[in-house]
Amino acid sequence: MKLTLKVWRQKNSKEKGKIESYDIDKISPDMSFLEMMDVLNEKLTIEGLDPVAFDHDCREGICGSCSMFINGEAHGPDRLVTTCQLHMRKFNDGETIYIEPFRAKTFPVIKDLVVDRSSFDRIQHAGGFISVNTSGNTQDANSIPIEKQKADNAFDAATCIGCGACVATCKNSSAMLFVSAKVSQYALLPQGKIEATDRVLNMVKQMDDEGFGNCTNTGACEVECPKGISLENIARLNREFIKAKIKS
């Protein structure tokens, strides 16, 4: 395959960036998108140019590092995949592909396609935990049975990989899907109920302080989420928040 890549190049967080165009050849349809980027970088390096910086690590869709906005969509045109799992067979020979970083005020660009998502970490610091110390004698794991449906729903919410595709996709750069996934996981489990009020208030406050946009229920996040986290979680977040506000 032959491709034209329009890649966002930006030296660092301070300088302005722009789209650069690169032609690339001999791409196999069996390559993953990042392997195609490896080929580009190998070529740029040999030519004495600066290779394109992008975040990646596990390359099997679970670490949440990769963060490319490809042809106008987070993680590209395929569904339920991260960029590293996107394969070149999803593109046509001769196609022009736009590659941009995940964009949001809360995700400042570090270099090229690498962005700073520490705002997500800070939201988790605000309440993404259950306050239980490590000891060899917490109660037995089976002492509180949990309804299978609830356990499964909690798991589904917990599969969020924190990649930020929801924010990148949302026209409002809202992080509600991300926050709701964590809040939901704990809200559905008896262990998480004790701190539920403080957790949702603190996490939402941190989310607002970071400067994420608000949710207008377009549902784009749910479609682009590589783990298929459902909008139901945002509804649950709203419910939990309203409950917490009334309580506190």
Partner: protein
């Protein structure tokens, strides 16, 4: 206004609540208006009641005006804030790939409805206020139907009216079910809510247009 309601979720909840309030108001408005198609007397009776009842005029009406103002101002504030959450825009952004045009453009459909409301105020509300509370003209319980039909004599007005309700329909198509999601309702009833939302969002604006066209043709 964003200072008053500090949390993002409370802001969207307030949008949902004011939206649902307006949906209920619109339904009431529609029931009165549609009566004009069937019976001049019923329409006059209902309108007279609404126009002269103390509770409606001095309690419900201000609440309604506040509700409308709140919904619009908050809508614009939110839109402004949300736009600011992304400073550098995408070179290529394919919004249609993952969300409907309607859901992404509530601000546009809302703005069109707002401009219609301006016209509606100018056309109906200001003359009413003038009639009742400024010039203190005598109340004729039978004046409403004539005034109504009179308003739909002008073809251009009927067309504008129809277009505006088209946009209102679009606004409601997302807004109805969206407000329930904002309030945290997403469960086994959601598909029913979405269905009712669709029927409402298409039916009510269509009904309003029907009334307008009916009276235009009758003239």
């Amino acid at each position: 206004m964003s200072k008053v309601i500090e949390s993002s979720i409370l802001r969207k909840v307030s949008m949902a609540l004011s939206g649902i309030f307006l949906i209920i108001f619109l339904l009431q408005h529609f029931i009165i208006n549609i009566s004009s198609v069937f019976s001049e007397a019923t329409f006059n009776q209902l309108s007279h009641f609404m126009g002269t009842n103390f509770i409606v005029q001095f309690i419900a009406q201000p609440i309604l005006i506040l509700g409308v103002l709140f919904h619009f101002i908050m809508g614009f504030v939110l839109n402004f804030q949300n736009r600011n959450a992304r400073v550098e825009k995408y070179v290529k952004y394919k919004g249609s790939a993952n969300a409907s045009w309607i859901s992404r453009n509530m601000i546009i459909t809302g703005a069109v409805v707002l401009s219609f409301l301006g016209l509606h105020f100018y056309d109906f509300w200001i003359p009413e206020i003038n009639h009742k509370y400024i010039e203190f003209l005598p109340e004729d319980p039978n004046r409403y139907y004539t005034e109504l039909t009179h308003k739909f004599e002008d073809l251009i007005k009927v067309i504008l009216y129809t277009i505006s309700f088209g946009f209102l329909s679009l606004h409601l198509l997302h807004g109805f079910s969206s407000s329930f999601q904002s309030l945290g309702v997403n469960n086994k009833f959601t598909s029913t809510i979405k269905l009712i939302g669709k029927i409402y969002a298409i039916g009510i604006p269509f009904g309003f247009c029907f009334i307008a066209i009916f009276h235009y043709l009758n003239n």
